[in-house]
Symmetry: C2
Subunit: 114 residues, 2 copies
DNA sequence: AAAATACTTAAGTATTCGCTTGACAATCAA
DNA sequence: TTGATTGTCAAGCGAATACTTAAGTATTTT
């Protein structure tokens, strides 16, 4: 039985997180490898506090994991989050494309209704 | 030479569009097949005007196409939009996973820095 | 110990967003 | 023609969002 309530909620958080361009820039940067919060902030033209807020959203969504050692917090991508969202889109597409197959059948057979 | 400015802008619109749960519900519904605006509105607990506004966002993002014949506008998914977003995520993941491969190499060879 | 680094947290602000209401246009049915 | 569908447009409202500033904490350096 696929797609629990918890999963739907998770998908919700993931897409909400990816909806913001700055957060996508963060994910993009992290895809090159794990870095600290201030390294992450440097290329973006916003304050460190703003970056921290974005990271909270990303971490709650499960797209990013962080770990603090000493005074520096290191951030890395969790690819599972991305592939969950990927799956959602692939599913919608496949349902859509399967429809075309059935449509083809109907055009050929041309009777026997639903 | 991949990823033009126009593409980035397009990706921006797509992810922004998918960031809203109601719009994802619309995409989900449309994946079952093309339907009219009021049919789309029926299961959602919002006014028709709100649905039209969501459809504008979805159409501008390229995720949905619509066509009006008579007084009814029929909406359908454009799978190209979905696969573009899918690609973006797959790319981020692959960069990340390629990093692991290189890390493996380094651990095995354990010299020759770059 | 003192200063610098690397965050963290809270409060405030300006803008954006999703939604409603209400008035309107166009098409189809009786 | 009259009335019912089906959608469109504009204005406005409350809540959410992305950001800043400012004050604080914990850790490392000097």
């Amino acid at each position: 039985m696929p797609s629990h309530k918890a999963d739907i909620d998770h998908i919700d958080q993931i897409f909400r997180a990816l909806g913001d361009p700055t957060r996508r820039a963060i994910v993009e940067k992290l895809s090159e490898g794990p870095i600290s919060v201030s390294q992450l902030a440097q290329p973006l033209n916003i304050t460190l506090a703003a970056v921290v807020q974005h990271l909270q959203v990303l971490e709650e969504s499960g797209l990013v994991q962080t770990e603090k050692v000493g005074r520096v917090r290191t951030c890395r991508i969790d690819p599972a989050g991305l592939s969950l969202a990927e799956q959602w889109m692939a599913d919608r597409r496949s349902v859509w494309e399967r429809r075309f197959d059935r449509l083809g059948d109907l055009l050929v057979e041309s009777d026997e209704s639903e």
